[in-house]
């Protein structure tokens, strides 16, 4: 299926891009992120992060659907 992946802040700088369109069989954000790390090894050093699907916060084991926009957030640091 076709997924849009978006990277923010440190993830964007590590991946070297803000967004990519991928064809994947990954069923969950966790599996999808593992594929992203395989493509962009600099993503690997991050140990805690959040994921959103279509602008809703989501779990790493949520189910992905064709056309989803998946947002990978590095550890947040507001305030």
């Amino acid at each position: 299926m076709s997924i849009i992946v978006r990277y923010f802040a440190a993830f964007r700088e590590a991946a070297g891009l803000a967004e990519e369109h991928v064809d994947t069989t990954a069923a969950t954000p966790a599996a999808l992120f593992a594929e992203c790390v395989a493509r962009h090894s600099a993503l690997e050093r991050y140990t805690a992060s959040l994921v959103a699907i279509n602008d809703e916060m989501a779990g790493w084991e949520s189910e992905l659907s064709d056309g989803d926009e998946v947002l990978f957030f590095p550890p947040v640091a507001g305030g």
Binding site: A9, L71, V76, G78
Partner: protein, 149 residues
């Protein structure tokens, strides 16, 4: 006033508190996060906040609503900066008015604690030695919440 907003320009903390004045309230607590001149032994010159606004606003409103439900308070609001900030600039402000001070303190703390954990906002520190780094929230990493596998 919006219960949560992202502000691209300077936050006015006094205007913020005035909007929360309520004649039924005997207590008001305001938290402000300021840009401080050091972090982990490095001298900080300025900060940059990246905010993913669609989700930050949605999640920010949710956090304020949670506080309104959990604590006996009358009004609550929060605002977070985006963009480039200088030393002593206000990065975030949270205000809560209530009949009594206990719930006002508790709700204010709840909102800022949750905001730091949940809002898609990232901080890049610019140091005196010319370097710049995205700041990891060590506490979040230690708390182990929402780790990717």
């Amino acid at each position: 006033m919006k219960r949560f907003s992202v502000s691209a320009g300077p936050i006015d903390p006094d205007g913020f508190r005035r909007a929360l004045v309520d004649p039924s309230c005997g207590a008001y607590v305001q938290f402000e996060g300021w840009v401080r001149d050091h972090n982990e032994g490095q001298q900080v010159l300025r900060l940059e906040y990246e905010v993913y606004e669609p989700l930050a606003v949605k999640e920010g409103l949710l956090i304020v609503d949670e506080a309104m439900e959990r604590f006996e308070i009358s009004r609550a609001a929060a605002s977070h900066r985006s963009g480039l900030l200088e030393l002593t600039d206000v990065a975030v402000v949270v205000g809560v008015s209530a009949a009594h001070r206990g719930p006002a303190f508790d709700a204010c703390r709840y909102i800022i604690d949750q905001a730091k954990l949940r809002l898609p906002i990232w901080k890049k520190e610019h140091y005196a030695n010319g370097a710049a780094e995205w700041v990891n929230c060590r506490h979040c990493a230690e708390a182990g919440h929402a780790h990717h596998p």
